[in-house]
């Protein structure tokens, strides 16, 4: 398996771990790092990395699971759209079990007759539209910079082919604004950020420039064990030397300038708007809405949405967990009322949610 096995080599990981221990010992204080991306949270759990780290080094999970940060109001709106007659609602699988108000979910709607289809590519939704000319296909546009260009490309291809029964409900969000909000939050004490590898393939280093400006370390990191270890090592060295910059560990995929073509496709279709993040609240300019030129592909334009009274489940602490100020074990529902087979909050639903990763890999502590 090229570009995978090499980065799972135990000897390499052990060597990096030794180096981490040496550098961490030289920093004579507790150090807190945040992995922003849910895929990192999952990798850190899966490879048991947390348990291997020196005592003064703490990893906390951030708001980097798009499903988890989708507000309950947006979940409810998705549920409304999916329940409309003659609609095919296409969604990535992660979204299926996310509960809205009163525990309703896409999965439950599907069980009662709604045509909810799980896709693995935005292009699948366009295909449903061509195969079902008499029906409306709505794609749940969810995700960060990694995913948004693929949805934008699907809209462009629908337009090129004159497809009119295809729209997107966009709850897309952008990562740099959320990082800005974390940096500005006085409750947050983060010394360095493990920056998301795949988001950065698109954005490049520019997305993170606020981090070193705020005197924190930033390293764009890959997802294999050797990647994560080296990323942590690079962050610790920045902290030890007091020299902050956005560095790239994941150089086989991430270029400094990112992927300008994908950004161009994204900017052609979407423009910045405000977005409501679960846990972080409304962050101005952190959402992406469909531009007027493409309003024919905007589900919010095609369908009239009523006012929905959305209510969060009481006791759910996903908000605090997404900001990294609370660990899953500190939530009273964790592993009791809230488990992967019966999730209360989105952090337990998505396989990359912080609570799901902790439940699966780190229950013993």
């Amino acid at each position: 398996m090229k570009y995978i096995d090499e980065y799972r080599d135990p000897g390499l990981v052990r060597g990096l771990l030794d180096a981490v221990a040496i550098v961490a010992a030289g920093i004579d204080r507790p150090v807190t790092l945040m992995e922003i991306c849910g895929t990192h949270t999952h990798a850190i759990g899966r490879y048991g990395i947390r348990r291997l780290l020196p005592k003064n080094l703490r990893l906390i999970s951030g708001p980097g699971c798009p499903v988890c940060v989708t507000s309950i109001a947006d979940v409810d709106r998705a549920l409304y759209l999916a329940g409309l007659p003659d609609v095919i609602f296409a969604t990535f699988g992660d979204m299926l079990r996310v509960p809205g108000t009163d525990g309703e979910s896409l999965q439950r709607l599907r069980a009662t007759g709604a045509d909810v289809r799980v896709i693995s590519s935005a292009a699948d939704a366009v295909r449903f539209a061509t195969e079902n000319p008499g029906r409306q296909v709505i794609l749940m546009g969810i995700g960060f910079e990694t995913t948004t260009p693929t949805v934008a490309a699907a809209i462009l291809s629908a337009r090129r082919r004159g497809i009119e029964n295809f729209t997107v409900f966009s709850v897309h969000k952008t990562v740099p604004q959320a990082i800005g909000a974390l940096i500005d939050d006085p409750e947050m004490k983060i010394d360095g950020f493990i920056c998301p590898g795949h988001v950065s393939i698109i954005t490049g280093v520019e997305a993170y420039e606020r981090i070193p400006m705020a005197g924190r370390a930033a390293v764009i990191t890959g997802f294999e064990p050797a990647d994560v270890m080296e990323g942590i090592l690079m962050i610790l060295r920045q902290i030890a030397e007091g020299r902050y910059e956005v560095a790239i560990q994941y150089a086989r995929g991430v270029k400094e300038q990112g992927n300008p073509r994908a950004r161009g496709v994204m900017a052609e279709v979407f423009e910045p708007g405000d977005a409501d993040w679960r846990g972080l609240g409304v962050i101005s300019g952190s959402g992406l809405r469909i531009r007027r030129e493409y309003e024919g592909f905007d589900a919010l334009n095609r369908f009239a949405l009523p006012q929905i009274h959305s209510v969060e489940f009481r006791g759910c602490r996903c908000g605090e967990i997404l900001r990294g100020v609370m660990a899953p074990a500190e939530c009273h529902l964790f592993m009791k009322a809230c488990t992967p087979s019966n999730p209360v909050g989105p952090c337990m639903v998505s396989s990359e949610g912080t609570c799901a990763a902790y439940y699966k890999y780190e229950r013993s502590g």
Partner: protein
């Protein structure tokens, strides 16, 4: 959600779709948003049905051997 995999391009069709091999599994991905020319045999990082970046083999090999050297010589 931002999960992505490295895959090797096996074929490319006229609609700019490629069949790629990801550790023995074959999948079809669109090449519409990769930002440099790719050909059969190249490795690309794929996310949600789209190739999003060509893997720079030279950079990858060079970095890996450099890292091994640092580790082996305990320079880190």
């Amino acid at each position: 959600m931002c999960i992505a995999f490295p895959g090797k391009i096996l074929t490319i069709d006229k609609d700019n779709f490629a069949v790629i091999d990801i550790s023995g599994t074959q999948r079809e991905v669109s090449l519409d948003i990769v930002d440099e020319p790719v050909t059969v045999g190249d490795y690309v990082i794929c996310h949600a049905g789209y190739a999003i970046q060509r893997i720079d083999e030279e950079v990858a090999l060079e970095k890996l051997s450099f890292l091994r050297e640092l580790i082996d010589n305990e320079i880190y």
